[in-house]
Symmetry: C5
Subunit: 354 residues, 5 copies
């Protein structure tokens, strides 16, 4: 999932909606599905489940959480989709992994698209991955592009038999959404630290690379904002609208995540404005330095040009130059030159250039 | 359709609304109409249909798709318009090919205006073409300014007897809208690639032409945004409002296209902000380079001006210059000059200029 | 009506609302009124009508169009106002010719204010004129500040007995509004052509005057936007709100003009952003040129300062300078100087300055 | 009332709401109250009225206008407030003279806060003063910070027995609001004239002080906008909302003032954007001039450095310099120098620097 | 609570909502709670109250105000939370002290989050602290991160038996909100004074540190805006929405605080725009100075280079230079040099450079 400005959608051109081809980078691993079935008393975790087993597990009582890692094998996704009776457009959106975050209500289930962001500190880049959630009456079907430990916290809480075990599928969906938004804070914290380090460097000693790094961070913020902005709207809908699948109680929790997402956006905007201000600071300090350089040049030139001229005058070879023969001419010239340069330096001091 | 900032509307001045004159560039080809009549079982494709035949075909059962290439022959358009009973204002808007995208409900049909954009990679320019769609109860009448293969994908799907054959005229309209919006992604992908190449060039080695290219892309983005922005509103209306001509099911699909159009706009805005940041980067790097140049100049001048002055002093022809006769005066002057220049270079190193 | 940033309203200070004094430049011609009375069969055009005759003509059946050129004679306007029973505030607004575009519903009539814009190509300035329209049940009363041929197209269509003759007064009002908005396109086309010429000049060879012209156009766009922006709202109200004086059918036409006004605004905004981008381009290209100039200076100084220094050294008059007596010293100095300057030029080429 | 960025509110800290202390600059004059009682037939004007007399006058039939100059004597304001039965929060807001414009409905009266702006042409600064209006059923209580002739026009109209005498208290409130907004136009006209003069100066001959003046005007516009922006909302409410104290007829007039306030805001925004454009123009023209300066320097240096070098070469004292003895060497050197400088000037002309 | 761009939330990652861990800097003092119980007649103030005593005091009649200083001891907060029956999410938000201001209605109480800002004049930085308010039917529970004298004014008014003693718990909440917003004015006043001092310095004599200070203030304003912006919405809800816990009368007072918060935001925005304008002024004045410097350099170089060249010419050692032997050659050269330099200075004066 290397970051590109515009992701190719070309393959789909002319294809009917609902044609199932995975659009995105083709990963090199097998798509696997794990299923967790739980209620207050029981918890059953199954890894590497076949669609057939899925079908059986779905018939069990309790909340079912189907978690699929990898969506690059269209056939596997399609099979699961048919199992759950998903609309062709939903399957298409799951496979085209460059969707904007959105929530769509279908008959009997909600389809939620999110973007997971990871910051690779080696090359200072943000990678983006699509997370799809299907929230049904008694199940959640989550799909990630890459195997990841992002939902491990949720899994742990399920295992520990905490509150989440007493709640319905909508609360599980909330827990997954919350995990995603919490990761944004981790990301922003890392970025924020790097930007503050850059800011310190900028104030102490700006360098040409500083500029490129500011540009780089501005670019990252653009991509970040593009990913998070629609998420706010998604969470807003989930916490306000009357989706019957989400209980009144869970809606309170959704409101909390929505709050966090607004906080994320506020922070992104603050960072962006800070970067603009940093660029201004950089530009001005370059100008300041150039001013400094020019002053040195001007002072040197202004002091030495008249002196060199005077020396030049008495280097002329005219036969009739009475001064040349005077006894004290040479020391007098030194006096004149000293006076001239001292005078000029005084003028510069008056102007505040020294 | 060369790209102009403001398209001439002059001809219409003072004319009554409903005066049918084609406003736009007059193309050099014959306007032709093809008709596709289809239902689940049958499919009939007719090229180069006369209005008379159209009239007959319209009476057939099934969905009728009338596709007209070229709107520069006002008479042909008018004849078709009368056949379908279109309002004079609609015909006028079809002929004036610089409309903003919009949807207008008339008695018994919807009039949808879109703009098709094509990127000519030879001269790096975007060309814009007006697409008009009339969605009636059992027909779609589409008009393009130029013969084009844009709708070939839709035609292929009709021929293959896919889902589209089971749906009504509103789904056909959706398929055409979807084809247009999909082309925007192709366009953006090409532009995005060029802009990223430019960005790389900017970071490695900015050049005067870089600046012009940034300006050029900003201009393109302005034109693009102007074309796509109102489209979002059009698709929003089509997917929300209660146009009885669009079924509940098709509305779901319209929502999907609307989603894509928002995605297009997001991408345009991101590119625009990136271009602004690239310009800042360019400006700063020019300033950086000038700073570099100035430093070289200042160092050279500051080192050599005092030396030249010293040489000038001992080039004077005064009769009484005791130093001239000293035995070690010449080497001593060299020592002084070496010390002076070494001292100055040390100062520059301290200032971080070397 | 010379263009001023803020138009004087001083005279009115402290005056009661409804005090009728014309505020604006006092034109040097007589205010004249022409009346057109028409229905499907008959058309009667009367020029230079007295208020008395107006009174009689208003009693006739059919649609009455009263067109007054010049509003600088308050008494004439007042007399007409009383004839039609207009509110004192309306008369005041007609005379104070710096109103923002607006529509106001009064008992039995609508009061519409527009601004007509003309571009004087001699001094490249936009002039603004206030157009007032009173739409009554069976009459339209239009007032312009200057005699003008702007409504000639409408008059021609009335004479030719076209559709307008079959419609009511509201359609006449629409025709007049449409004529005004169409003139904006003429204006924008002229401006657009000039700006594109300026853009070409900017890319080929920017000049100090380019800058002033960009500023000039920015200023024009500001004035233009200020005039057109509220018009959109006016037309929006006329096409949506339930003014009983405007029939359902005419509302369709009003929607069309509103569309055009949005198009005008889009174009203004696009031009404004283009001007901003042009200014950036100009600034950068100046900086580029300065960079160029500085490089030439630095190269020259860096090459010749060391050479001049060397020449200066051997121009010194010390008695003990062994080199001076050497046989091949002079050619050797030439060799040294050639090597030094070649070396420096090589360094510059490496830096990419040559 | 000197203009400050943030007005001190320190005194109120920790105080209960409703603690009546005047916050603002303490003026040096006595607070005085004048009362006008009028109806269609009678008009009674009393200056320097005591609260006791006020009490008696308020019992009279007709409209009562109480106008208080100076609010720095908290006791006097409090006494009047109790006479009219005002809420403690209202009294507090009257005394804290840095309120934003607002309208608040209380039981039986409306409390309207405005800001009066005056432009002092001596030091080119805008001063801001708080105007409070209490509109009761049959009275208006107006409070200004300073004695002023702003409401003299209204007083004159009352004396002349014009329409205002036939209307109720709400119309009087309108007349006072109108007087305030009209003063904004006077202010803007003065500012507009100064800014246009500055613009002319900028184009003809920019100066360092120009920059400070642009900054100064930008600052003024910021303060102005801050004062006028909320006023628009206030007038909007007065012309739309269902305040029973304002009759349907007066609402029409209120709509008119609201229109004017929007016009004021439009003008402020236009001026602000113009100032931004002027700053750009200034920056660019400085850069242009620097470019000009650099070119002169570069041409001079480029022409004279080689010449000086040549002269330096033949000023060397080597014993074996064959050229020195040649008969035509001296004229030949002049020829060489002429050719070199002519060639360089030609190069500069080619580059367009001359 | 040192100011950071992004506050760490890392600890919570993967934790269930409702896990009570204090997130923020761990202060070094004991969390203490004071309780005030009051009605019209009685007032009881208790410091350092244990939860047990709290429980008893809550059972008393009258309004109870529980004020807790320090939230870093999760256990203490949790105990109080359980005493009052607060939702786990509320407790979590109280402990995570980087919430955005918000108001949330729960069963039987309102949860209000505010941010208190303090300006440390030693290091010119703004510190931010979270204030949580729980408004129940007859109690207010307030939590601050640090012991502070901010609410001392409210305490004093309670002691003095003023109006606040006659009101309910909602009015107490209002009094606390009002105290917080009033502190913003203190903060802004201090900042405003510093910024105006900086502005004066900028106009009189800009310095490199000026730039950093502008950047510093811009950063502070960003943080400030981020804290105050959502507060406006909170207060808006409290003054408009139908929270049954807030009486009609208190709502009037809430409207007043909301007014103040809008005023705070207006001021922040004005300051921000002023800072932008100051930066422009700074940049331009640097450019102006550089222009000044360049002019001096150019004048000096242009005057002395030709003179030095002339002197160099007559310093050449050709045997055949007839001028050298002329009687008046030396004075003639001086005349030529004077004329040349005078001519150049005249040119510069014409150009306005002198």
């Amino acid at each position: 999932m290397p970051r590109k400005l515009v992701v190719k959608r070309g393959k789909k051109l002319g294809a009917a909606p609902g044609t199932l081809v995975h659009i995105g980078d083709h990963a090199q691993f097998e798509c696997t599905t794990s299923v967790v079935v739980y209620d207050q008393e029981n918890l059953q975790i199954r890894e590497n489940v076949t669609p057939q087993t899925c079908h059986e597990l779905l018939a069990l009582p309790g909340v079912k959480w189907l978690d699929m890692d990898g969506v690059h094998q269209a056939a596997a996704v399609k099979e699961m989709g048919e199992l759950l009776g998903l609309h062709p457009l939903v399957l298409e959106d799951i496979l085209n992994t460059d969707q904007r975050p959105k929530v769509e209500a279908y008959d009997g289930y909600l389809y939620i698209v999110l973007r997971m962001l990871r910051f690779d500190q080696t090359n200072h880049q943000i990678y983006s991955e699509q997370i799809s959630l299907i929230l049904g009456k008694d199940y959640v079907f989550s799909l990630q592009e890459l195997p990841d430990d992002m939902f491990d916290g949720v899994r742990a809480r399920l295992r520990e038999g905490r509150r989440i075990r007493f709640m319905q599928a909508d609360y599980l969906a909330y827990a997954l959404l919350d995990a995603v938004v919490d990761h944004y804070f981790v990301l922003l914290e890392k970025l924020g630290d790097e930007i503050e380090a850059l800011e310190d460097q900028l104030i102490i000693e700006p360098q040409p690379t500083t500029l490129r790094r500011i540009h780089h961070f501005k670019r990252e913020m653009l991509m970040l904002r593009k990913a998070v902005w629609p998420l706010r709207e998604v969470l807003n809908q989930l916490s306000r609208d009357d989706y019957p699948l989400i209980s009144e109680e869970t809606r309170l929790f959704m409101r909390d995540v929505q709050d966090h997402s607004v906080h994320v956006l506020d922070t992104i905007d603050t960072i962006r404005e800070l970067l603009v201000s940093m660029l201004d600071l950089y530009m001005s300090s370059i100008n300041n330095r150039m001013n400094e350089v020019m002053k040195v040049l001007t002072i040197i030139a202004t002091v030495f040009m008249p002196l060199t001229f005077i020396a030049g005058v008495y280097g002329m070879n005219f036969e009739h130059m009475p001064e040349l023969a005077w006894r004290w001419a040479y020391p007098a010239v030194w006096v004149v030159m000293t006076v001239v340069s001292a005078g000029l330096l005084l003028v510069f001091r008056r102007k505040g250039w020294l």
